[in-house]
């Protein structure tokens, strides 16, 4: 009886249950980050990776296409991780980014954001083509995913790509984010990433906010604000360019 009412409470308050569940997942991930990697792999990257793993397990067990959200107890995950809340939170991250600071970063800092988006998109799109995809929507979604794991789903949703392709784009973006976090300290000296000017350009080129924040923190914490600042603009520029200009370019070529 106690179990029955617990289950019914969780089902009736699905979104609240999702907040509690994700909160626990994030806490667990940050513990793993601190204890097992001594903070080298950012907690947020571990949390997202665990989310993807759980979505895999969820899909295996339930046979559905919504990951964990296919379980009625966790259906709130579908609402919390849906497009409405996601876009709302992304827009909120732009708050506090300073136009003045971006102007001070100079034309190179601003250009690096656009170059970074176009470059990653192009590389991702080429890989998609190399794997035999011909649908411009699919190629663009994967290219966008190679930008960041946000630009991918936003582009995919806008263009009407199916969930499997969107998941691929998230996986590409996640690979990038994790690799930037882990790889940055190792290549920093070789690529001259040891001053604010380079950090600004680095943030613009990489764009993955968690990757840049984690990678710079592991390299030199003093550089974090510079990289993070240009990176803040990356997702916005990516969401602007990928489903529009870049998609049209792909469609024109293919």
């Amino acid at each position: 009886m106690i179990l029955d009412s617990l289950l019914s409470v969780l089902e009736k308050n699905a979104l609240i249950a999702a907040f509690a569940f994700v909160g626990f997942l994030v806490w667990f991930s940050y513990e793993l980050s601190a204890r097992l990697t001594r903070g080298h792999i950012h907690g947020s990257a571990i949390a997202i990776a665990l989310g993807l793993i759980l979505a895999y397990v969820g899909g295996r067990v339930s046979g559905g296409s919504q990951g964990l959200a296919d379980f009625s107890l966790l259906s709130g995950i579908g609402v919390m991780g849906g497009a409405m809340f996601r876009d709302f939170a992304i827009v909120a991250t732009a708050f506090g980014a300073e136009l003045e600071a971006l102007k001070r970063a100079g034309a190179v800092g601003a250009a690096s954001v656009v170059i970074g988006v176009v470059l990653s998109f192009t590389v991702g799109a080429l890989v998609a083509v190399a794997f035999g995809y011909t649908d411009p929507v699919v190629i663009s979604t994967i290219g966008a995913g190679a930008a960041t794991y946000i630009v991918g789903p936003v582009t995919g949703t806008a263009l009407g790509a199916d969930s499997g392709i969107i998941a691929l784009s998230v996986a590409a973006g996640l690979t990038k984010s994790v690799l930037v976090m882990i790889g940055t300290p190792f290549v920093a000296q070789r690529i001259g990433l040891n001053n604010p000017h380079a950090a600004l350009i680095y943030g613009g080129l990489m764009g993955t906010t968690s990757g840049v924040a984690g990678g710079l923190a592991a390299t030199d914490p003093k550089l974090v604000p510079y990289g993070a600042m240009t990176a803040t603009f990356y997702t916005g520029v990516g969401c602007l360019l990928a489903p529009s200009v870049l998609f049209l370019a792909v469609r024109a070529i293919s």
Partner: protein, 123 residues
């Protein structure tokens, strides 16, 4: 008031998505084009304007900061509802796309770093 911040954020998002929808119709892609990006630019402009012309109360700012801080948890939830089975079954492509994007970006950094517009190069 916290709700002012949340409402401002909502306003920016609705305007951005609305403009994005119209843009999509104009371009003829029947999709939302850059709505989120437009909303972000709008919020940046409004929040920068506020430094000069008027200032948000701290409670108002908290209404926006809360949702900004919820970004990672929401992305975690988003990851947990993805169709990962479909992604994994198509193999290495996602990983290769991610790795290649990072490698090319790292390689380009030293080249762009050399471009210092309006700065004297004393080396």
């Amino acid at each position: 008031m916290v709700i002012y911040g949340v409402a401002l954020l909502s306003f920016c998002m609705l305007v951005g998505v609305f403009v994005g929808d119209i843009l999509g119709n104009l371009i003829g892609v029947q999709a939302n084009v850059g709505g989120v990006g437009i909303a972000m630019l709008l919020l940046i402009v409004l929040s920068n304007l506020s430094h000069h012309k008027f200032s948000f109360g701290s409670a108002t700012e908290n209404g926006i900061h809360f949702w900004s801080a919820m970004y990672i948890p929401i992305v975690v939830a988003m990851a947990a509802k993805q169709n990962v089975i479909a992604a994994v079954s198509s193999g290495w492509m996602a990983i290769i796309a991610g790795v290649a994007a990072v490698a090319v970006s790292f390689a380009l950094l030293p080249l762009l770093d050399r471009v210092r517009i309006g700065e004297s190069d004393d080396s």
